[in-house]
Symmetry: C2
Subunit: 287 residues, 2 copies
């Protein structure tokens, strides 16, 4: 299976599950559900759900067992994008090739759509009966993870940042949820702690790889392919890998992160082939 | 025990638990924790935690078993206040006698402090191992509950609203979380479904009572006692009970809600005395 086939298969399943999930909230205001759906079903790579479903399958679990976690991860990711795009945060007009939520609707609706998605993620995950899974997702999304990373990132605007600061910010902002994706997939395959350690180790390096390539694409990328504005980071004097270490060194760090990620997969041998391919794909990505 | 003693005892325990809880997040940005703490420990009646702890004790449970739920409820309530006060929502400058979060810090910090509190609530609750409790809190806080109610409330600005619309908005916006407080207290006392039904029935009427008296106080109240601006609802042409049915009829509805609430407690006999007293206290409240 090529990585494109893998990602496409996973995103089709997840999008169907997300659509089905939203349709169960008939007691909610239709306008709010529409705003949530607008951002949740706006495309995107569905990387986090794919990691969760792939990890579950790697360990012999059923894809359907990890589907609530896959949906919850995409809801949390989408909520974070909606809130990060707000005027008082990154002030972005374009996301996945479409107007951002506050542009399409208004700020109040965007804030509530994000709040609604975050809360729905925990509801859907809690309904599996696995409180341990809820704790993993909440820890990764919270102040010691993604939300804390976004706060650090905001604080870093215009500040001098070294490579350690940058790694700390991104380990939280991007790394925590990517790591949690693999962790959740493993939980729903009833993984051993050795398997969980290997997959979360892989996730940490993959998260760093993903962020470095994201930063590089903000400098070198094509807005149309990315579906978002490029050059935003430099304009806003954000701390990024190219800004802190230069673009050549950032490419070397990406290569190293990709290798370190693959090293963590040795426990699984050839069964983890798709994760090796996925890692190279992210290293070479142009969107 | 007087209701003041009951509320004071519960708030002291909950505030100590909240403070202790925040101190465990040493891996989070201190500035973000400080913003969360500012709003979380700004006083307030702690009604939702008191209901949860009281319900647990009423059914023979230990207060400490319901404490994570009590903290989670106050975190969710505080997150909702922070986001509702934002300029693009209710645009309030004063809350519990202090500047609102976005006034004290800035909008981005206020949004992240709210996001952080909501996520922390689910983390703390998930750590009890009770996924059913997480589901109850998430359902009450989400698009079919509190977040949906806030969206409806926003939409209703300047619109003509009848008493049915108003009851629907407030059943979500205020009622759902108050009902969940009693439900969660019951869960941590391993309640029967009959006991849960009685307590959630009580919660629905109490929530309505609370909202009606809140609306009345916005017209008749003293800003200093309330710790927030008064007359805001009328200024912003919000749908309120006094606006829709007049102040005298609102007082009658409050009385009826109080009686209906107390009727639901018959299952518990005299053991539920504190809830009867609390209901009368809310009916007569001036803050």
């Amino acid at each position: 299976m090529t990585v494109e086939e893998f990602l496409q298969e996973k995103s089709q399943c997840v999008e169907a599950a997300l659509e089905n999930c939203l349709s169960n909230y008939s007691n909610a205001p239709p306008g709010l559900i529409a705003a949530m759906k607008y951002s949740l079903l706006a495309g995107g790579k569905r990387l986090r759900p794919a990691l969760a479903l792939g990890a579950c399958e790697l360990l012999g679990g059923k894809q359907s067992d990890a589907m609530p976690a896959a949906c919850a991860l995409e809801m949390v990711h989408t909520y974070s994008l909606i809130h990060d795009d707000l005027p008082c945060m990154d002030d972005d007009d374009l996301r996945r090739g479409k107007p951002t939520s506050h542009k399409k609707f208004n700020e109040a609706t965007a804030i509530l759509a994000g709040d609604g998605l975050l809360t729905m993620a925990f509801y859907e995950l809690a309904r599996t009966g696995r409180a341990d899974a809820v704790a993993v997702l909440a820890e990764a999304s919270g102040v010691g993870g993604m939300a804390g990373g976004q706060y650090h990132d905001m604080l870093s605007l215009g500040e001098t940042c070294d490579i350690k600061d940058l790694q700390r910010i991104h380990a939280c902002k991007t790394g925590a949820l990517i790591t949690a994706s693999l962790h959740l997939g493993a939980i729903f395959a009833d993984a051993s702690s050795e398997q969980i350690n290997a997959l979360t180790g892989y996730g940490r390096h993959l998260g760093m790889l993903f962020q470095i390539t994201d930063d590089i694409l903000d400098v070198t990328g094509v807005s149309q392919l990315l579906g978002k504005s490029v050059g935003k980071d430099e304009q806003s004097s954000k701390a990024t890998y190219p800004a802190v270490v230069g673009i050549e060194q950032a490419r070397i760090l990406a290569q190293e992160a990709a290798e370190a990620a693959c090293d963590e997969l040795s426990l699984f041998g050839e069964a983890a082939e798709i994760f090796h391919v996925l890692t190279r794909y992210i290293l070479k990505r142009n969107r």
